[in-house]
């Protein structure tokens, strides 16, 4: 499936879940800051995407991805729930759709969903479709 088609379907899911206008949803739109999502909305969007694309978005998707770099241990990238300098660097690389200045050492792992943009979901779906 082409990325453009994935984007359109992700956009539809977000429009329906959040009740926002079609033209408000752009690849770079932040789910929380721009589109007003709350944590329950993310679950709603994930369930919709799983249904639409016939995939399952795995638990730990983000953490596993930043730890996937060779030779990286969890203690190298995370201390007391916050990312280290190395963790921030890997997270910036992994979430290249997010403005890099938003991810600094000390950023809390459980705040990652606040970084999500529409493109984050496009990438998640694309990765799961490729793994199918």
């Amino acid at each position: 499936m082409e990325e453009k088609e994935i984007f359109e379907k992700v956009k539809d899911a977000i429009v329906d879940a959040l009740g926002v206008d079609d033209d408000e949803v752009k690849a770079e739109s932040s789910l929380f800051d721009d589109l007003g999502a709350e944590s329950l909305d993310l679950l709603d969007i994930v369930f919709r995407l799983e249904k639409t694309f016939g995939i399952k978005i795995p638990r730990g998707a983000i953490q596993l991805d930043i730890l996937a770099a060779e030779g990286v241990k969890e203690s190298d990238v995370l201390v007391d729930g916050a990312v280290t300098e190395l963790g921030a660097k890997l997270l910036r690389e992994h979430m290249s759709e997010v403005k890099p200045e938003k991810i600094k050492a000390g950023f809390r792992l459980d705040d990652i969903p606040t970084l999500f943009t529409v493109q984050t979901f496009v990438k998640m779906v694309k990765a799961q479709l490729a793994a199918k």
Partner: protein, 121 residues
């Protein structure tokens, strides 16, 4: 010691559970479902349990997108009626990693909202 708190709209939980039938089993354990379904207003109880789960995640600083399974955070009840947490695999692993041995839980709900406070010790 770590603290987490959360507030959940009962209507949103009802809407999500009606829209996504899989929500119930992905988020709640069989014991939690039995408990909530035995109540006259089950969605208030589901919302309260959802708030507890979110509070545990906030207290630990990691959530369902960072490896914690919703169903590994089970809201149980002591004989006294006090709510407690029964920890499944992914929660036990996080507790061990963070040096947490137990949780103290308080929850409350009305027809519109449910709220919880969790202290991790």
């Amino acid at each position: 010691m770590r603290v987490g708190t959360d507030i959940t709209e009962v209507g949103r939980i009802r809407e999500l559970m009606n829209r996504h039938p899989e929500f119930r089993a992905r988020v709640f354990t069989a014991q939690e479902i039995d408990y909530c379904e035995s109540k006259r207003r089950p969605f208030e109880h589901y919302a309260a349990r959802f708030s507890v789960k979110e509070s545990v995640m906030k207290a630990l600083g990691r959530g369902w997108l960072q490896g914690l399974e919703w169903t590994d955070i089970e809201v149980a009840r002591r004989a006294s009626g006090e709510p407690s947490i029964a920890a499944g695999g992914s929660l036990q692993a996080a507790m061990q990693q963070l040096g947490i041995s137990r949780f103290v839980v308080s929850l409350s709900h009305c027809s519109t909202h449910a709220t919880a406070v969790v202290i991790a010790l």
